[in-house]
């Protein structure tokens, strides 16, 4: 009788169970929660939509409140009743389908829509380029490529339930501070179980700097412990910032479906191989975890102080330098580009432009540098400095040799690289030679054109007889502007000089009034005489005392003139008397009053 091996019977039973397992959407046996949600697909392009499927296994799902996530809009598509198969048992389930529409690209976290459900992640990208750091199990290894049966790499420690590992490979020899050391970072993930890579690997601690990792790591497939792994490798370079003994490791954030089945089941499923090995993970919500690599020891030595050049800027490696110029013949004032090429291996970020500091007799501008790496790690390549130079003086000039100091870790000594001097012929600039006769005839296309056109020029003028030393017009020259300015000042002074003097004006008016009074006295007209006399005196007093005519009273006159005030007051009274009562005055009276009036008009001015 033919008997089946025991393990083959178990194979058949488990295979039947596994064929049913993909239909399940919840891992009810492992997860006591009776509601969960999934988003499919979990990575979409801008303009596409995803669907959140909220599943409830404990009866009708009440209305749920749509979440608020900036950048995402949610819309309930409908409800569905159905059955979920869990461990071969059918359980009534209630579904709510929600459409998710992104408004911009990014990685979004959608909170759980029921108290029992966990958060889900959605990544939205633009363009057609795939996210280099995202690996999705949308096609769960339907057609797995042929895999190499590589042995388990030494030093690998599987993390995240055996679904991933990360490894840092560093040199075993001691390195120097600042030295650029090539390192390899390997990250292995199990497709279908690790759902996404949430960032590039990063060094732990701050004692080292790591070059930017490539966004396109090398990829290969490898079987490790019977499971297929996608292994990504980054070639990079790190540099230590201080000496000492260090322990290095890298960390990588991933999202992984953590298997909670028994070890026996896992072992059995793994023995079945793909696709049965995937079955235990179906329906498990992914979880964000960070895995780290085993620690790698690295000894960092300090740079020797002995023999350190003064111009050492921290460059460590092996370098060669050379230089050239954009042209060896320039006009004075024309810019010239000096290019300095530094090639080799090392920390090019410490190779600076201080070697241009010794370019005497040349006007320099800030140099521009570009680095072209020749290996993925970025520690080999060529750095080119472009230094614009301007020669101020015409003649044969020399760009001196440029020196560059660095520390060579292979020879463990400081070394110096040097360029050769470059000779440059600097001609006088066109602007400087604009007043000199052209030395050469027409040459080139423009010259030929102008020579032909020169036939249409008008003839030269005879030799000039007069010349000036300044092209600037006279009225824009300060010495000449002194002429109109002085003329204007003199004319203003003259106008000031001929202005009428107030004292002289009053004196002339007084003389005119006395002449008129004298004439009236000779004619024997007392009315006119006294009236004119009062008017002249009032005008004089008003101007002299700065008061109004109404204020000139008898008391005011006596107060200001004393005894003479009485005469003036008497004269004012005679003026009224002569005007209204035919006052008759003799020649003696006229002379006496003329004397009084003259004394007041031409008097001491009190």
């Amino acid at each position: 009788m033919r008997t089946w091996p025991t393990h083959w019977s178990r194979v058949i039973v488990v295979a039947i169970l596994c064929l049913l397992a993909p239909l399940t959407k919840a891992n009810a046996a492992a997860d006591p929660a009776l509601a969960y949600e999934t988003v499919e697909p979990s990575r979409i392009k801008m303009g596409e939509t995803a669907v959140i499927r909220v599943v409830s296994l404990d009866g009708y799902l009440e209305n749920i409140q749509l979440p608020t996530v900036p950048g995402l809009s949610f819309e309930i598509m409908g409800r569905v009743q159905g059955l979920e198969f869990v461990n071969g048992k059918s359980i009534p389930a209630s579904y709510i389908l929600i459409r998710v529409t992104p408004q911009f690209a990014g990685v979004f976290t959608i909170p759980g829509l029921t108290p029992k459900s966990a958060t889900v992640g959605l990544e939205v990208y633009t363009g057609d380029a795939p996210n280099p750091y995202a690996w999705r199990s949308e096609k769960p290894a339907a057609t797995p490529p042929p895999m190499s049966k590589a042995p388990v790499p030494k030093g690998i420690q599987l993390r995240a339930g055996g679904a991933a590992f990360v490894q840092l490979v560093v040199p075993t020899r001691p390195v120097y501070v600042g030295e650029s050391v090539p390192v390899d970072i390997e990250l292995g993930i199990r497709p279908g179980i690790v759902t996404s890579l949430n960032g590039p690997p990063a060094l732990t601690g701050s004692d080292f700097t790591l070059n930017n990792l490539s966004k396109e790591p090398l990829r290969r497939n490898q079987v490790i412990e019977g499971s297929p792994f996608l292994v990504m490798t980054w070639h990079s370079a790190l540099a230590a910032v201080k000496p000492g003994d260090f322990s290095l490791s890298v960390q990588t954030p991933i999202s992984v479906k953590l298997n909670t089945r028994s070890a026996e089941d896992q072992e059995f499923a793994a023995r079945l191989g793909w696709p049965f090995s995937q079955i235990p993970y179906n329906g498990v919500a992914p979880k964000d975890v960070t895995i780290d690599s085993p620690a790698s020891a690295l000894k960092v030595l300090s740079l020797p102080k002995e023999g350190r050049p003064n111009d050492f800027s921290g460059a460590v490696g092996e370098f060669q330098v050379s230089s050239d110029t954009s042209s060896t013949r320039v006009a004075a004032g024309d810019p010239l580009t000096l290019r300095l090429h530094i090639t080799g291996v090392g920390n090019f970020d410490r190779v600076d432009a201080t070697m241009f500091d010794h370019l005497e007799h040349w006007k320099t501008y800030p140099a521009k540098s570009t680095f072209t790496a020749s290996d993925p790690a970025g520690d080999k390549g060529e750095k080119v400095f472009e230094q614009p130079l301007i020669a101020g003086q015409p003649g044969e000039q020399s760009i001196p040799a440029l020196e560059f100091s660095y520390f060579n870790p292979n020879t463990q000594h400081y070394e110096r690289a040097q360029t050769q001097p470059i000779k440059v012929i600097v001609a006088a600039s066109l602007a400087d030679s604009s007043l000199g006769a052209p030395a050469e005839a027409a040459g080139g296309p423009n010259g030929v054109l102008m020579s032909q056109a020169a036939r249409g020029l008008r003839a030269d003028h005879p030799q000039p007889r007069s010349s000036v030393s300044e092209l600037r017009p006279l009225y824009f020259q300060a010495p000449f502007l002194a002429v109109p300015a002085a003329l204007a000042l003199i004319l203003a002074g003259s106008l000031f000089a001929v202005r009428p003097h107030p004292g002289r004006v009053a004196s002339k008016a007084a003389e005119r009034a006395l002449a008129q009074l004298d004439a009236a006295a000779r004619s024997g007209d007392p009315a006119s005489f006294f009236e004119m006399a009062r008017k002249a005196l009032q005008q004089t007093f008003v101007a002299r005392w700065q008061i109004s005519p109404d204020q000139i009273t008898g008391s005011e006159l006596q107060a200001r003139l004393g005894a003479a005030g009485e005469d003036v007051e008497r004269l004012f009274a005679l003026a009224d008397e002569a005007k209204y009562s035919k006052y008759e005055a003799g020649a003696t009276d006229f002379q006496r009053w003329l004397k009084v009036i003259r004394g007041q008009l031409l008097g001491d001015g009190r």
Binding site: A331, A332, G333, D334, P335, T337, K363, Y365, P366, I390, S429, L430, A431, S433, S434, L435, A437, P438, E440, A441, A442, G443, G444, N446, G447, V448, L449, M450, S451, A453, A454, L457, R458, D460, H461, Q463, P464, S467, V468, S469, E470, L471, R472, P473, L474, Y475, F476, Q477, F480, A482, V483, P484, A486, L487, I490, L491, A492, S494, L495, A497
Partner: protein, 227 residues
Amino acid sequence: MRARNTIAMLIMGLALCGGLALAQTPETAQPSQPSQQRYSADGLYNLANSFARAGKPGLAVLNYERAALLAPGDADINANLEYVRATAHVSAEPRNRFARVAEAVSPALAAWLGVLGIALVGAGLLARKMTPRFRWARIGGVLVGVALIALTVSNAMLLRPRMRAAVILVNQTPARVSPVPMGDTAFILPEAETVTMTAEHEDFVLIRTRGGLSGWVARANLGAVVP
């Protein structure tokens, strides 16, 4: 009598001051050093002609511009300047009638006419203070003086922009967005183009074209009309 003495002294002072200033003006100043550059309209014109014959339109236009500064009414200078510009395919801004009138006299003559105008206006005002006679003569003198001053001011206003003018001397001169040799090129200038200098920074000059474009040009690639 005293006022007239004062005026006489002031006039003597004016004559002395004017004589000193005249002695300082470049028209009569003797070169203190043998190497000092001397300019004449005819000399610059002949030099520009030689540059034009040698196929250097930039230097030709530059020297025609300088010659025109000294003798704006010279028909030969203007004709050859327009001719060289046309040959080099460079356009120039046409002068309006006002500019032609104001630039009919040379700047040197306009400067002295302005001085004469100030003297006429001042003398007319002074005479009015001193005597009421010759009223129409006084008014006429003041009006003529004002006209002469206006002529000088107009001439100066028209020539003032040319104090900052420059001519591109190198064909395909790049005008950069920043005053550094590695600055990005904003536009290209043809040789013999006349531009306006608006600012300077080390070895570069910020220029503005007639079309309103601005950019930094290496100082060695252009020549200022007034050096």
